[in-house]
C-alpha cells in the first residue's frame, strides 16, 4: 500500500486560531476565530464550517457572524450532554489552535432579498445561523425594506447574544420582538411561544421574505402562522439542521430524500422541500 500526498484533498483543514472565547449562557460558548496566515474565510450568511480538533474529530457548526465582519469569524457552540466534540470545543480558549474546512453549503440568498421586507424568525439556537444574516442586513441596512426580527427561547437565561439584542431593541430601523417560553421574576418581556408573536406583525406578504431557523419542531408551527399571513411558500426560507458529516455531499448522513443538506442546503426555499416527508 502506497501513501500519496494529496494537496487538493477536500479533507484538508485550514489551521485557525481562537482569538477570544466566552460563555454566552451555561451551555453556549462563542468563539472568535481567524485563519492562519491572514487568509479570510470567504463565506455567505447561513453557510457552515466543519470544525476540527485532531484527536476528537470534526463537527459542522454554522457561522454566526456576518461576512461584513472582517478578519475573523464567529462560531457559537452548544455543549450537548455526551457530545464529544462540543464538550471538547468548550474546553478551548483564546490562543488555542483548531482546524476549519469550508465554508460549505448554500447560505441565505441575500441578493434575492434586496429591496424586499424581511421577517426573520429564530428559535433557540437558531439565532446562531440567523445572526449571520441579521448582522449582514444591519450592516447593509439600506438595501432592504422593513425588517422584522422575532426571537424566541426557553427562558431569559437561555437568551443568546444579550448585549446585541439590547442594541437591536433600540434601533429605530428594525422591529425587534422576543419572547420566552417560560418567564423569570425579573423578565418584563413577552412570555409564550414564538408563534404568538407572528399575528401581531404588520407585513406585506407579496413583498416580504420570511426566514425561519430553529429546532426541528418549530418549523411546522411557525410556517403555519406565516402561511396564515399569506406569505407564499416560495418566499419562506428555512435553514435545516442535519448531521453534515463530510460537507461534500457524499457521506449520506445529512441526506433528505434526494437532497444533500450540506451541499444543496442548509438553506432551502420552503416550496422546494415542503413535500419531502420528514424534511421538516
Amino acid at each position: 500500500m502506497e501513501k500519496m500526498n494529496i494537496n487538493r484533498s477536500a479533507y484538508r483543514i485550514k489551521e485557525a486560531k481562537i482569538l477570544s472565547a466566552r460563555m454566552l449562557t451555561d451551555t453556549e460558548k462563542l468563539f472568535d476565530i481567524a485563519l492562519q496566515n491572514g487568509e479570510s474565510l470567504d463565506y455567505e450568511p447561513g453557510q457552515f464550517a466543519e470544525v476540527s480538533i485532531f484527536g476528537v474529530g470534526e463537527a459542522p457548526i454554522s457561522i454566526c457572524s456576518s461576512p461584513t465582519k472582517r478578519g475573523s469569524f464567529e462560531l457559537c457552540v452548544r455543549a450537548v450532554g455526551e457530545g464529544r466534540f462540543t464538550n471538547a470545543m468548550h474546553k478551548m480558549e483564546a490562543g488555542d489552535d483548531i482546524g476549519i474546512r469550508g465554508p460549505f453549503g448554500v447560505g441565505f440568498p441575500v441578493q434575492m432579498f434586496e429591496g424586499n421586507d424581511l421577517m426573520l424568525v429564530a428559535g433557540g439556537l437558531g439565532i446562531a445561523p440567523l445572526r449571520s444574516l441579521i448582522n449582514y442586513v444591519l450592516d447593509n441596512r439600506r438595501d432592504f425594506g422593513k425588517v422584522n426580527i422575532l426571537l424566541g427561547c426557553k427562558t431569559p437565561l437561555n437568551m443568546l447574544f444579550g448585549d446585541e439584542i439590547e442594541t437591536w431593541q433600540t434601533r429605530m430601523d428594525i422591529n425587534f420582538s422576543c419572547t420566552v417560553d417560560k418567564g423569570a421574576p425579573d423578565w418584563k418581556g413577552n412570555v409564550g411561544l414564538i408563534t404568538s408573536l407572528i399575528p401581531g406583525v404588520d407585513l406585506d406578504p407579496a413583498n416580504t421574505y420570511a426566514v425561519v431557523v430553529g429546532p426541528p419542531i418549530m418549523y411546522k408551527f411557525v410556517i403555519k402562522e406565516l402561511t396564515g399571513k399569506k406569505i407564499p411558500d416560495n418566499r419562506i426560507l428555512v435553514s435545516l439542521e442535519r448531521h453534515m458529516k463530510c460537507g461534500l455531499g457524499k457521506c449520506g448522513h445529512c441526506q433528505i430524500h434526494n437532497i444533500y443538506c450540506c451541499q444543496d442546503g442548509p438553506v432551502f426555499v420552503y416550496e422546494r422541500i415542503k413535500d419531502l416527508k420528514g424534511a421538516i
Partner: protein, 344 residues
C-alpha cells in the same frame, strides 16, 4: 478497441505471468456459496464459476478503512492529506459489479470531487467476466439490464467453450494483454460464437419482477407511504448487512484514530450504514429516520429513485447480495413486486 481470444489451456499462463508483474485479485472459493476477491498467483486458485462475492470489488475502490489525514498536534493542528493507493489488477469482475463501480465513479467524481477515490481508481485495472447463466435465483440483473457488459473494464472475458473471447477495451488492457502475450487474434468464427451466446442470453435473462424498469422511480414515489415499508420495518433488524455488501452503497463515517500518546494520529474514513439508528441523528438528539421502516425505505429509494433523479442512473445493479445476506429474509424482488401490486 480490439478482440482477441485466449485458449482455456493458456489461462493459467495468463494469470501467472500477470501475477509476476502485477498484484492480481480474483474470486476465490471460501466455502459453500461463499466467494471473496483475494490475491491470486495462479488460475487454479480462482473460481470463475462463482456467485457474487460476499463483498463486492467496492472494497478496493473504497476500502472499509482508509486514512484521509495524518495529524500532529504537538505544535498547532498540523496535518498531511494522503491517499492510500495500491496498483492492482481485478480479474473476473461480473457485469453487475462493473455497473456497481460505474455508480461509485459517478458519486465520487461529482463535485466536490473525492480525490482519495479517484486517485485509487486510476491504479486499478479491471478485467470483467461474463455470466452466461444466472448465478442464482436472488439476482435481478435481467431487470436492471446488467447481464451484458456496458463498459467499465479494461478487458472483458467471455467463456465460449474451450476458449475465452476477450474484448480489449483500453490501452491499459492492451498493455496487459501484450505483456502476458498468450492470446491469439480473434477471427470471424469467434465473433460469431460470441454473437450467438449473447443472443441466447437474451432468452435466459428476463425481467425477474415483471415491472417496467422505467416505471420503478415513479412506483417508489407513489409507494412512499405503502404498507410494504411497515412490513419491512417489522422484519428488519438493522444489522446493516445489506449496505455492507451492496456494490453501490458508499455512506461513510469519518473519525480520528489517535496513536499512543494521543498527540499524533490519523483521520480515517470507514464504511457506515444508513440502516443504523444514529446515522441521521443530530447533536441535539433529534433522529430524522428513527424507525426501521424509515431507514429501509430510504435505502430502497436510494437504489431505485433518488439516484435516478440526481444522476440519471439506478443504483441497484441486480447483483442480489442484499437478498442473500439478509437475516430477516427481506427480498429485493419481492419488495418491488409488492409495491407494484399495491400501485398497479
Amino acid at each position: 478497441m480490439k478482440n482477441v481470444i485466449l485458449r482455456k489451456s493458456r489461462l493459467n499462463d495468463f494469470i501467472s505471468i500477470l501475477a509476476t508483474m502485477e498484484k492480481v485479485m480474483a474470486p476465490v472459493a471460501k466455502g459453500p456459496k461463499h466467494f471473496a476477491f483475494e490475491e491470486v498467483k495462479s488460475a487454479k486458485e480462482i473460481s470463475l464459476n462463482y456467485i457474487p462475492t460476499i463483498l463486492p470489488p467496492k472494497k478496493y475502490f473504497m476500502p472499509q478503512h482508509e486514512t484521509l489525514l495524518e495529524y500532529d498536534t504537538r505544535e498547532g493542528q498540523k496535518m498531511r492529506a494522503v491517499a492510500e493507493v495500491e496498483k492492482i489488477v481485478l480479474f473476473g469482475v461480473h457485469t453487475c459489479d462493473l455497473a456497481g463501480v460505474q455508480c461509485l465513479n459517478i458519486v465520487f467524481s461529482d463535485r466536490p470531487k473525492d480525490l482519495n477515490y479517484l486517485i485509487r481508481k486510476n491504479k486499478i485495472a479491471i478485467i470483467g467476466f461474463e455470466c452466461n447463466f444466472y448465478c442464482d435465483e436472488d439476482a435481478s440483473c435481467g431487470l436492471m439490464g446488467n447481464y451484458l457488459p456496458k463498459g467499465g473494464y479494461d478487458m472483458f472475458f467471455t467463456d465460449i467453450g474451450d476458449y475465452f473471447f476477450v474484448h480489449v477495451n483500453t490501452q491499459l488492457g492492451e498493455e496487459l494483454m501484450n505483456k502476458t502475450g498468450v492470446h491469439e487474434e480473434a477471427r470471424m468464427e469467434h465473433m460469431n460464437a460470441l454473437e450467438a451466446l449473447r443472443e441466447k442470453k437474451k432468452t435466459i435473462f428476463k425481467n425477474e419482477v415483471d415491472v417496467d424498469k422505467n416505471m420503478i422511480p415513479e412506483l417508489f414515489k407513489k409507494g412512499f407511504d405503502s404498507k410494504v415499508w411497515d412490513d419491512l420495518g417489522e422484519r428488519c433488524i438493522s444489522c446493516g448487512n445489506c449496505t455492507n455488501v451492496c456494490p453501490t452503497c458508499y455512506c461513510f463515517d469519518v473519525y480520528d484514530d489517535p496513536d499512543f500518546g494521543a498527540k499524533t494520529g490519523k483521520r480515517i474514513r470507514v464504511w457506515d450504514s444508513c440502516q443504523n439508528e444514529p446515522f441521521a441523528k443530530v447533536a441535539g438528539g433529534e433522529s430524522f429516520r428513527s424507525l426501521r421502516k424509515d431507514r429501509k425505505r430510504h435505502r430502497f429509494n436510494r437504489k431505485f429513485r433518488y439516484p435516478v433523479e440526481r444522476y440519471g442512473k439506478f443504483f441497484c445493479t441486480g447483483c442480489g447480495r442484499c437478498t442473500r445476506v439478509c437475516m430477516a429474509r427481506i427480498n429485493l424482488k419481492d419488495t418491488i413486486r409488492s409495491l407494484a401490486k399495491e400501485y398497479k
